[in-house]
């Protein structure tokens, strides 16, 4: 890990902010500049950034982070129903509730480390998921999912004299509707703020301690540091990020369902983080955006589109190609996801950012004249 100057951090932050805010421009050539998708980039970016604070910095692999996301969504929808359609209270409450929830689960799970920790978080997440579907139906509305209704109280809105009679109200920020492009810009600002916080945490003494825990936890104790509260805080903070992401989902589409809490959803955020590069700042956001982008493309393909794409081929070959490709697209998107998962872990455990680092290192070495074989071994050692 290199020491970075305060200046280079600001440059990184400003570049990130600029890139996020100009997404509608530079995503246009990829056909990805429509609000729904860009909102997803931002939402899952926040989720992955938060997950990375736990996994990337401390090395503790949680398989239950989707539970916090789900809790965030439910809280936000309840805030819409009971208090106000304004998104600020919804987001605030979601972060707080998810944080409390994360504290409870983290307090118990963090009494173990390694694979036990992973299984404990998984067990808690499954437990929450099962409960959301059964006993907690009054809160979660079970399989149907929690939705807005005309008869909701919306106490704050009512006090402000805002009433709805005919159609369901939409989420807003002091009157500005949170759908379409305003919705995207809102999510983008939240993402930028989240990134800023993560940047500060990573560069802070607190972050250094977390990295120390990842590197050699036993040593931390003999250095006079109590690792328990450090880990618990990292867990709670990343839970709050997940809750925030859940709230953003509800902001852009005010409903919440238990399937958001399933462990496959937890697996997805793990994949985003390692694909981009666990422990790096940009990596998780990159991973989240890539996965959501390809999900969007791949799952929209169907046989008709494929047939047209491979029209030039002879019929017999065309059908074989279409069949094979068809495995991976449309409904089969998850297959691609699984494959991507394996390929990343097998060949690039450091993720895309590690790949970028290796390539630049390769060029640097070549310039300084040493053999590329040597740099390959060095890169391998590094990973």
């Amino acid at each position: 890990m290199k020491n970075s100057s305060a200046l280079s951090d600001w440059v990184l932050f400003l570049a990130f902010a600029a890139a996020v805010l100009t997404m509608p421009l530079w995503l246009a050539p990829f056909g990805a500049n429509y609000p729904d998708l860009m909102q997803k980039f931002a939402i899952f970016g926040v989720f992955a950034i938060g997950f990375n604070i736990l996994f990337g910095l401390t090395g503790y692999l949680s398989f239950g982070h989707a539970a916090f996301l789900g809790v965030g969504s439910y809280t936000a929808v309840w805030s819409f129903k009971l208090l106000s359609m304004n998104v600020l209270p919804a987001i605030m409450f979601s972060i707080v509730v998810a944080g409390v929830f994360a504290f409870l689960i983290g307090y118990i799970s963090l009494r173990r480390s390694g694979i036990y920790f992973s299984i404990l978080t998984l067990a808690f997440a499954q437990m929450s998921y099962n409960l959301a579907y059964s006993v907690l139906t009054p809160i979660t509305n079970g399989e149907t999912g929690l939705q807005l209704s005309l008869s909701d109280a919306r106490v704050l809105d009512a006090m402000a004299g805002i009433t709805v009679t005919r159609s369901l109200p939409s989420t807003n920020l002091f009157g500005m509707k949170m759908s379409g492009m305003p919705g995207f810009y809102f999510c983008a600002v939240v993402l930028i703020v989240a990134f800023f916080i993560a940047l500060r945490i990573t560069r802070s003494p607190f972050g250094a301690m977390l990295k120390g825990i990842k590197s050699n936890q036993t040593r931390m104790a003999y250095t006079g540091l109590n690792t328990r509260p450090y880990l618990l805080w990292a867990f709670v903070i990343s839970g709050m990020f997940a809750g925030l992401a859940g709230a953003m989902m509800a902001v852009t589409d005010p409903l919440a369902g238990a399937e958001r809490m399933q462990w496959t959803a937890s697996g997805e955020v793990v994949l985003m983080t390692i694909l981009g590069g666990a422990g790096t700042l940009i990596g998780p956001v990159l991973g989240a955006a890539l996965i959501k982008y390809f999900e969007n493309i791949f799952s929209s393909f169907n046989e008709r589109i494929l047939n047209r794409a491979f029209e030039a081929l002879p019929d017999s070959i065309q059908s074989i190609v279409v069949d094979t490709v068809g495995l991976f697209v449309g409904e089969g998107w998850h297959l691609t996801l699984g494959l991507l998962f394996m390929i990343t872990v097998i060949f690039l455990p450091g993720g895309i950012m590690e790949g970028v680092r290796r390539i630049t290192a390769l060029f640097d070495r070549d310039k300084s004249g040493s053999s590329s074989a040597a740099s390959n071994t060095a890169a391998a050692e590094h990973s």
Binding site: K2, N3, S204, P205, F206, G212, A221, N226
Partner: protein
Amino acid sequence: MDNVVLHVADVHKSFAGLHALSDIDLSVKEGETHAIIGPNGAGKSTLLNVCIGRLRPDSGHVVFNGENLTGKQPHQINQLGVVRVFQTPEIFPELSLLENVMIPILAKRDGSFKLSWFRRFAGENNVRSKAEGILQDLGIGSFTNSEAGSLSRGDKRRLELAMGLAQEPRLLLLDEPTAGMARHDTNATIDLLKRIKAQGMTKVIIEHDMHVVFSLADRISVLAGGRIICQGTPEEVKADPKVKEAYLGEEQV
């Protein structure tokens, strides 16, 4: 008036019926360098582990500056000023040398936990220059930004020592600080430890190398079979026939 800093009182420790330590009674005075010697398996490392809270004694207790350490967590014991330097380097291999030394300094300054998430780690200039000074002192100041894991074995041991010294301990426990070092490295380390001694730091040192022991120690305890068989100044210990029999004779082979 000699001020007792560390008092190991009547400590017993056994593993599955095997007596690793019995009747250990030991006092270390302020500013003193106390060496613990003894053949392999005599219980030296077990004794250190009891002192830093890695192991809990079956009976007896360890008192440091009037505080009972028994039952305290390792980080609490460290915060009291008892610092151990490990024999096999326990460093943070993925972090830079500078970070390796800055973390212990921060741990001493900020206590066992502090949620300082908004400050810049690299911006802690006092901590940083102090760490750089210590690394310089130990002869590894020229690669402060490289990964600790990439150091040679000898340099890792120096870094380990640097991490211990960085905390300005009130009691430093050294576990074979020169084992596996080349002769000139050993001499350099002895010089360094002598300098620290001149500053008045209290030390307990486990060592095999008699050259190191006799050039540093004020008092020596000889451990054999989990018991202290002899205690005294280097001259007294040298003269003791029991010690020759149990240890020195064997060592001279």
